[in-house]
Structure formats: structure tokens, C-alpha cells
């Protein structure tokens, strides 16, 4: 269930990149100078950071870390 929810969130964020509802809008200017379309995508980057934080908390591939020995190719630790 958790995995399905995460897939839905990732796909939703991918779709939210296509913000067609702001396509022709420049106003409001956020903080008095940032066009709304640019401010939206700045916020989008922060939302992605939050998503990645969530993924590292709940979907981190721990099994890979355990499977890799902590040695170099020539056997040094």
C-alpha cells in the first residue's frame, strides 16, 4: 500500500510539472518581482526535495547496502 502511494505521489509530481493553468500568467509577482510561473517552479523544486526526503525515509533500498562488502577491488578495507 505504501509503495502504491509513493508511486502515485511520484507520478503526480511529474504531472504537476506541466502547470498549464499558469501558462499565460505573469501576475501576481511574488515578493513584488518573481513572476508566478517562475515562483511555482521554484516551489516545485522544494516539493521534490521533500519527496526525496520521504523516499529516503520509507523506501530506502537497505538490502543493497547489506549486500555490498566494504572492500576495494584488490581486497583492501
Amino acid at each position: 500500500m505504501n509503495r502504491l502511494l509513493l508511486v502515485i505521489v511520484v507520478v503526480a509530481l511529474y504531472l504537476l510539472h506541466q502547470d498549464f493553468w499558469l501558462w499565460r500568467e505573469a501576475r501576481p509577482l511574488m515578493f513584488g518581482f518573481l513572476p508566478v510561473g517562475l515562483a511555482y517552479h521554484a516551489g516545485y523544486c522544494l516539493a521534490v526535495a521533500l519527496l526525496m526526503w520521504t523516499l529516503t525515509r520509507v523506501a530506502w533500498p537497505v538490502h543493497l547496502e547489506g549486500a555490498a562488502p566494504d572492500t576495494t577491488r584488490d581486497g583492501r578495507r
Binding site: H17, R24, A26, L29, C45, V48, W53, P69
Partner: protein, 510 residues
């Protein structure tokens, strides 16, 4: 000349970092030279990986693109990457790291050869990857020459600037290998991350505040559209989300994923990557757009007039006239013009060093090609077994020198436009190679013949789209979309009709 002196100081620091890394890592073998002994810590891993993926385009090109196209530059290139690149690092980078650690792989081709039980098909993948990477290295040398010429006010000619930058990069890659390159990249990333915020504040003050600049752009029908995305089609915009798939397929990024000491280092990287992108791209794009309001500056005024003349050209105007106007209207130097006008000399020098930091991103690509050559060709065809690991490392170093010299000679003789275009095609090519990684890591049934079909298709598609204008640009999409989808389809179809690798091999992967 003061900014140029500060930049020379910066180049000296960079050189010292490379030689410092050499002292730490001397005589520790190929894994140390090419992968920093798989021992990079969390901060160096994050900052260096980010810096490796940022090029001259990040500061100069993004502002130039935004100057001509407006705020859409940010969502086309930055926010799409902010989602796709961390996801590929999370799902593909971590798996490559684990397999590299477990089986001793140092390049993606080594993994492909093992995973699909093939030899010469791996060599074909190496050839396509290498061919797509070379234009970046040439562009890096050109960027160095152009930036030093600009920062010194023309005192340092292009040929000398290119030679200086190429020599510095070659030296620290030669001596320091991956450790030197990673340390330098970390320093450079800190520098150009600070660049954006400082440039924004200094230029904003100089312009008398950004709100007035934005209002003046909105007041004119010629510039109001720069603050929206109304000039761009949604399909074209959507296509750009495929481009960042190229990142994990770039050999220098894939190889860099193998340098982390522990897998947990990917955690901070994937979380902070979008924030770093925001910190560097938002100021550059915004400044590029804001430059359109600087009608009082002759250098900007000329560009705006050339843009207006270009728009007014009749459809049957000659290509020469069109090209000349395009060059005049190009905005790649708008940030430099703004710094010249609004920043004090010493600050312009420090900011110039930030620009140099981005321009010198070719280091990891040179090292990656050297790693690929020595591992995928020299070692694979028996060189290391016959001559030993020390000879392999020396071969890698000689390769770095030869590659830099060849790139410099080409950079002096060929027009930059050719390589700018080549880099654009290479992005599509690497994105279309990404199904190789996905299939190798996630699909048991994938086969070497599927991999060969993808490789041949990508080689054909890159040549075809570069020779035939508009090729594969179906329904207003960029060619990268059909190229990548056809790659994925070829991998599936060809793999289904050919025999899979042995169960023992597959069992070691999935």
C-alpha cells in the same frame, strides 16, 4: 585586469588542490586513481556530483537562453531535472554503487559485459558513449578560452585562455585522478553556488530593484511574454522532461556513483540536489530575463535591436544574414555585461572565478573517458594482465594528456556552433541509452542482443537527427522522446526473441 588576476589566483588554488590529492593517493593503484578508492565522504560526494553535472551552460547559457526565451528556461531545464535526476540517482545510482562494490566494476560497460555475458557488444557501447562525450570536452576548452577573454577584457586572447584552462584541468586530472577532480569540483560547486545569490543582490541593487524592472517588462508587448510561457507549445515543453534521463547514462556520472564510501551518502545527495539546482539556476534565469529591461546599456541595446531585426526578417532572407543577427542577439554574455556594469571590480573578479568554476566542468568527462579507455579497452583486451596495474594508471594519465591536446587543437580550428549542436544531440543520445541501465538492473529477461539493438539505434538516430533538420520531431515533440521510447521498445522486443544470459549470472543481479 583585476578580475583576471583574481581568476588566476583561483586557477592556482585549483591546481594546488589537484596536487594535494596526488600526494595523498600516490601509488595506490587503479581503483584509487580512477575512483578515489571508492571512499568519498558525504559532503564531497554531494557537491562534487552536483558540480560534475553543471557546465558553462549553467551560468552563461541559462542566462542567455532566459534572455531570449524568458522564464520558461527554468522549468524546461532546471525543475524537470530537479525531479528526474534525483529519482534516477535513487533507483539506478544506488544499485550501480552496490554492484560496483560487490563485483569491482569501475565503468558501466564492465557491468554490461558481465550482466549480459558479452565482450565486443560492450566495446560497441563504449564506442558510442565515447563518441557522444568528446564534444563536451571540446566545448569545455572553448568555454575556458571565451570566459578568460571576456573576464580580462580581451587582454588574454582566446587561444591563450583556452590553453591556460586546458593545462590547469589536465594537470589536476593527471596528478589527482578522481580524488583531485572530486576535491576541485567540491570547491568549484561551493564557489558557483555562492555566485548566484551574490550576483542577484549586487545586480539587483545596481538596477535599482527588480520590481521596477519586471513592471517595465510587463508594460511592453515585446517583452511581457518573457514572463509567461505562452510562446512555447505544451508538447515541446513536455519533451524536456526526457532530457534529464541522460544524466545517469553519462559515463562520468555513472562512474561517479561508484566513488561513494557508503550507500547512505546517496540520501543527502538526492534530497539536496533539487535545492542546489534551485540555488544556482533561479538567479541565473531571473537575471537573464531582467537583462531585457536594461535598455540604457549599449551592449544590451544592440542585442535587443538585433532580436527585433531578426523577427522582422522576411522568410526568404539569406542564412548568412539570419546567422549574423542570431549571433548579435545571443545573450550568453548578459551576466558578464551586468557584472561589468553593476559590480565593483574585485567582486566581478570573484564572480568571474565562479563562472570559471562552471566552465571547467570538463575535468570529470576527461577522467571518465580515460577510465573507460583503460578499463573497457586496455584491461579488457589484456593490457593490465600483461603489463600490470601501474602501467594501466600511467596509460590513463597519458590518455588524459593526449585527449586534452586533441580537444585543444580542435577547439582552435572549429567553430563553436558545431559543438554546441553536437552537445544537444549528445543529450538526446544519452537519454536514449538510459534503457540499457534500466534493463540491466531491473529486467531479468534483457539480453545482449537487446543492448546491441539499442546501441545501434542510438548511433543511427543521433547521426540521422543531426543531418536531417526536423527528423523524429513528431507531433511537435523533441526527437529525444521517440528516440528514448524506440530504444526501450527495441530492448523489450529484441530481448524477447533472443536467449537470455545464464540463470547464474541473472541471479547475481536481480
Amino acid at each position: 585586469m583585476i578580475p583576471a588576476l583574481i581568476v588566476f589566483g583561483y586557477l592556482g588554488v585549483v591546481l594546488y588542490i589537484g596536487i594535494f590529492a596526488f600526494r595523498r593517493a600516490r601509488d595506490r593503484g587503479a581503483e584509487e586513481y580512477f575512483l578515489a578508492g571508492r571512499s568519498l565522504g558525504p559532503a564531497v560526494f554531494l557537491l562534487s556530483l552536483f558540480g560534475t553535472n553543471m557546465t558553462a551552460f549553467t551560468i552563461l547559457g541559462s542566462a542567455g537562453h532566459a534572455f531570449a526565451n524568458g522564464i520558461v528556461t527554468f522549468s524546461l531545464m532546471a525543475s524537470s531535472s530537479a525531479l528526474v535526476i534525483p529519482l534516477t540517482l535513487f533507483f539506478i545510482g544506488t544499485r550501480m554503487w552496490a554492484l560496483g562494490k560487490r563485483h569491482g566494476f569501475m565503468t558501466p560497460v564492465q557491468m554490461f559485459r558481465d550482466r549480459w555475458e558479452c565482450g565486443h557488444i560492450g566495446t560497441a557501447i563504449f564506442a558510442v558513449q565515447a563518441a557522444l562525450l568528446v564534444p563536451y570536452i571540446i566545448i569545455g576548452v572553448m568555454g575556458g578560452g571565451t570566459a578568460l577573454r571576456g573576464i580580462s577584457g580581451g587582454v588574454i586572447p582566446f587561444w591563450l585562455g583556452g590553453a591556460i584552462v586546458a593545462t590547469v584541468v589536465m594537470s589536476y586530472v593527471f596528478f589527482g585522478g578522481m580524488r583531485g577532480t572530486a576535491f576541485v569540483n567540491t570547491f568549484q560547486t561551493v564557489l558557483f553556488l555562492s555566485f548566484g545569490a551574490i550576483a542577484l543582490v549586487v545586480i539587483g541593487r545596481g538596477m535599482g530593484g527588480f520590481p521596477a524592472a519586471m513592471e517595465s517588462l510587463l508594460a511592453s508587448p515585446a517583452t511581457a511574454a518573457l514572463l509567461t510561457r505562452e510562446r512555447i507549445s505544451p508538447w515541446y515543453y513536455f519533451s524536456y522532461t526526457f532530457i534529464p534521463l541522460s544524466t545517469i547514462a553519462f559515463p562520468h556520472i555513472a562512474i561517479f556513483c561508484l566513488t561513494a564510501k557508503r550507500m547512505v551518502q546517496f540520501k543527502r545527495t538526492v534530497i539536496f540536489y533539487p535545492i542546489c539546482l534551485l540555488a544556482i539556476w533561479l538567479p541565473c534565469v531571473f537575471l537573464g530575463v531582467a537583462a531585457n529591461s536594461l535598455r540604457g546599456l549599449p551592449a544590451i541595446e544592440e542585442k535587443l535591436e538585433a532580436r527585433a531585426a531578426l523577427a522582422a526578417l522576411p522568410p526568404d532572407a539569406s542564412a548568412v544574414d539570419r546567422g549574423a543577427l542570431r549571433r548579435q542577439a545571443a545573450g550568453d554574455d548578459v551576466v558578464l555585461v551586468m557584472l561589468d556594469t553593476f559590480a565593483p571590480l574585485w567582486l566581478a573578479g570573484i564572480l568571474g572565478a565562479g563562472i570559471m568554476a562552471a566552465v571547467m566542468a570538463s575535468d570529470s568527462q576527461i577522467l571518465a573517458l580515460s577510465t573507460m579507455f583503460t578499463e573497457d579497452v586496455f584491461t579488457f583486451y589484456g593490457g593490465t594482465a600483461r603489463f600490470g596495474e601501474n602501467v594501466q594508471v600511467q596509460t590513463g594519465r597519458i590518455f588524459v594528456v593526449l585527449l586534452t591536446i586533441v580537444a585543444y587543437v580542435i577547439a582552435l580550428r572549429a567553430p563553436q556552433g558545431i559543438f554546441d549542436l553536437a552537445v544537444q544531440y549528445a543529450f538526446s543520445g544519452y537519454a536514449a541509452l538510459s534503457p540499457l541501465l534500466v534493463a540491466a538492473l531491473f529486467w531479468k529477461r534483457s539480453t545482449k542482443w537487446g543492448a546491441l539493438a539499442v546501441t545501434l539505434w542510438v548511433a543511427f538516430a543521433v547521426i540521422y537527427t543531426s543531418q536531417v533538420p526536423g527528423a523524429l520531431a513528431w507531433y511537435g515533440l523533441l526527437p529525444v522522446v521517440p528516440m528514448t521510447l524506440i530504444s526501450a521498445a527495441l530492448m523489450v522486443v529484441v530481448s524477447w526473441v533472443t536467449p537470455p544470459p545464464s540463470a547464474a549470472t541473472v541471479g547475481r543481479y536481480i
